[in-house]
């Protein structure tokens, strides 16, 4: 099991009261799943992803990710978990503008203190997965939105993580680019058995998912395993 949440509650202070973003979430996610958290804005998708990604902690209950209790992790342990085992893909790509494509992908490996040759091999392989070896020297502002998101996928995958968390990865992309991105991620999911968790309300994404967890007002209202489009 990659992820397990038990009676997970997350509340945010709003003035003198609290807003409950997640209310008693109990889910488990296995290795190799291609799963989506689906729901309208404010349903708690991103909050749940942040907790699974150890960027946030639950108010009550707990989440176990790769056997680690998120609530009990120190700042350093949580940073190590993210660095070694979890890849992130964001809606707005979040690439470093002053770095080249190659340097952006290389970044996570720098933190792992890998040698230059190990980094080069891994980065070039990751860029090959996403079909961007020819753009290695380009800066993010010199490539298209679709290419930027492919760089973000390469950055998430370069360290061979067990889990990739993608928050609305296609929200800023057109249909063709969305398809390309999802196709790439699905292939990586199959080839490397990497678990992907998406937060989305994009129907294009849903067509690719193996499992969809529907959230509404911070609660799971449906959890279904579905048959996806063949690649």
């Amino acid at each position: 099991m990659i992820v397990e949440t038990k009676h997970l509650i997350k509340k945010f202070p709003v003035g003198k009261s609290f807003f409950t973003a997640l209310n008693d979430i109990n889910i488990h996610i296995d290795k190799g799943e291609f799963l989506g958290l689906v729901g309208p804005s404010g349903s708690g998708k991103t909050t749940l992803l942040n907790i699974i990604g150890s960027l946030d902690v639950p108010t009550e209950g707990n989440a176990h990710v790769l056997g680690k209790s998120i609530k009990d992790l120190s700042a350093k342990e949580s940073a190590i978990l993210r660095n070694r085992h979890i890849g992130f893909i964001f809606q707005t790509y979040n690439l470093f503008p002053v770095y080249s494509v190659y340097e952006n992908v290389e970044f996570a490996l720098l933190l792992q203190k890998k040698t230059a040759s190990e980094r080069k091999t891994a980065v070039m392989q990751a860029l090959e997965w996403v079909g961007l070896t020819d753009k290695a020297k380009a800066r993010p502002n010199a490539i298209s939105g679709g290419e930027c998101q492919r760089v973000a996928i390469a950055r998430a995958m370069v360290k061979n993580p067990e889990l990739v968390i993608a928050d609305e990865p296609t929200a800023n992309l057109d249909k063709a680019n969305s398809f390309h991105i999802l196709d790439t991620m699905k292939k990586l999911n199959k080839e490397l058995s990497t678990t992907f968790i998406f937060a989305t309300h994009d129907e294009k994404v849903m067509k690719f998912l193996d499992r969809i967890i529907y959230l509404e007002d911070g609660k799971v209202i449906n959890d279904e395993t579905i048959k996806t489009e063949s690649l």
Binding site: L55, A75, R82, N94, F96, P97, V98, E103, L110, R155
Partner: protein, 388 residues
């Protein structure tokens, strides 16, 4: 190391903005080194000149003599003992007899000091050999000559009192005018053969002060020893005051440079919040991100030192070789300040090292102050650029 690597990468990739900050900071660095180098050069020159022309390795004063109190001159003379005569013979000391007098250049009246000195001495640079074999001859400094409008071979009537208080007068001939950067030597004194002055004043075998050529000589019977720390104290004080003025100027230049870094850092923490959130998401602790931003700011100062070295080195070499002329800007001698017309700056390793250290430490501090806010940023908000 990774923090340094990332900081350098961020800075170099940021392009023109980085170089503007670096350039302003390098100006502060260069001016700090330049000004202090000039002051140090001046300090060294002034010390060397004062020792060469006035104090050598120390002085011995007649008890009661005070160089700051002209009323003590009249009584400040004593007979040279056998021990002193032996020291003079060994060229360890040279005697100076002081007598207050009044000169009348072109009918005007001017208080002067008659300084009788051994024409064969070689402890001080004064060209007293020009007096050899000449009767009623005196030397004066070029500053005094300019002030009194006197020139070589001019005649100058001088009146003085002998040891009994009786007035006497004589017309001296100015046989030589020397150039000297030490105002206490240049201005207000007439230099003559000590034997001639002894005859004029009736102070046979007497002297007011002894100038020593021997560092180890610190006591001669009743004479009061004055070491160079005491004798150079005035110059040190003047130079220290000048240095403080220079520090103020440098402080403002440094402030501009540091403000540029502070401003960039504050702006960076705000503008680069997505980047900060992404750093954390990719596996950095907040503290590590703080260190990257701090190092980035501090690296500005390292680049400033390097850039300053690139354009400052030829500048400094030029000034070290050719000096900086002060003659057109100020007549320092007439203000009582020991300074040659051309100052040769002195740039020591210590000076450059301390300037580099000052810039690095101060820029690290101003970089850290805004960067430490990162420690309180919520990464989930930062990733979406929602930190206010």
């Amino acid at each position: 190391m990774i923090a340094f690597k990332l900081a350098f990468r961020n800075l170099f990739n940021a392009g023109l903005k980085t170089w503007l900050n670096v350039f302003v900071l390098s100006l502060a660095f260069i001016s700090l080194v330049f000004f202090n180098g000039m002051i140090d050069g001046w300090d060294r020159q002034a010390e060397v000149d004062t020792k060469d022309w006035s104090i050598a390795e120390g002085q011995f004063w007649t008890p009661g003599y005070d160089s700051y109190d002209p009323f003590t001159i009249k009584e400040s003379h004593q007979v040279l003992s056998h021990e002193v005569q032996q020291l003079i013979k060994n060229k360890q000391v040279t005697p100076v007899l002081l007598t207050e007098a009044t000169a009348f250049p072109e009918g005007r009246m001017q208080t002067v000091l008659l300084r009788g000195m051994d024409v064969n001495q070689d402890i001080l640079k004064l060209p007293l050999e020009k007096l050899k074999g000449k009767k009623n001859a005196v030397l004066i400094g070029s500053g005094m000559a300019k002030t009194l409008k006197l020139k070589k071979d001019d005649e100058l009537m001088v009146r003085w009192r002998d040891k009994n208080g009786t007035f006497d007068a004589i017309t001296f001939t100015i046989v030589y005018i020397f150039d000297c950067d030490v105002p206490s030597i240049d201005y207000g004194s007439l230099y003559m053969d000590i034997e001639a002055l002894r005859k004029l004043t009736g102070m046979d075998n007497e002297a007011s002060i002894l100038i020593s050529n021997d560092k180890n000589l610190t006591a001669i019977d009743s004479w009061v020893y004055k070491d160079n720390d005491f004798l150079l104290a005035d110059i040190k004080e003047i130079i220290s005051a000048k240095k403080t003025g220079g520090y103020v100027m440098t402080f403002f230049l440094l402030l501009i440079g540091l403000l540029a870094i502070f401003d960039t850092q504050v702006f960076s923490v705000f503008r680069r919040q997505k980047e900060i959130g992404t750093y954390i998401a990719l596996g950095m602790t907040r503290q590590r991100v703080v260190s990257i931003f701090t190092i980035e700011g501090a690296t500005n100062s390292i680049l400033a030192a390097l850039l300053g070295t690139v354009y400052g080195t030829p500048l400094f070499i030029f000034f070290t070789r050719h000096g900086i002329s002060l003659s057109d800007t100020a007549d320092m001698g007439s203000m009582g300040i020991t300074a040659s017309d051309i100052i040769y700056p002195y740039y020591s390793v210590g000076l450059i090292g301390s300037a580099v250290l000052l810039i690095i430490i101060s820029s690290t501090i101003v970089s850290y102050l805004p960067s430490k806010k990162i420690a309180n940023i919520n990464p989930t908000d930062a990733i979406r650029g929602k930190v206010s």
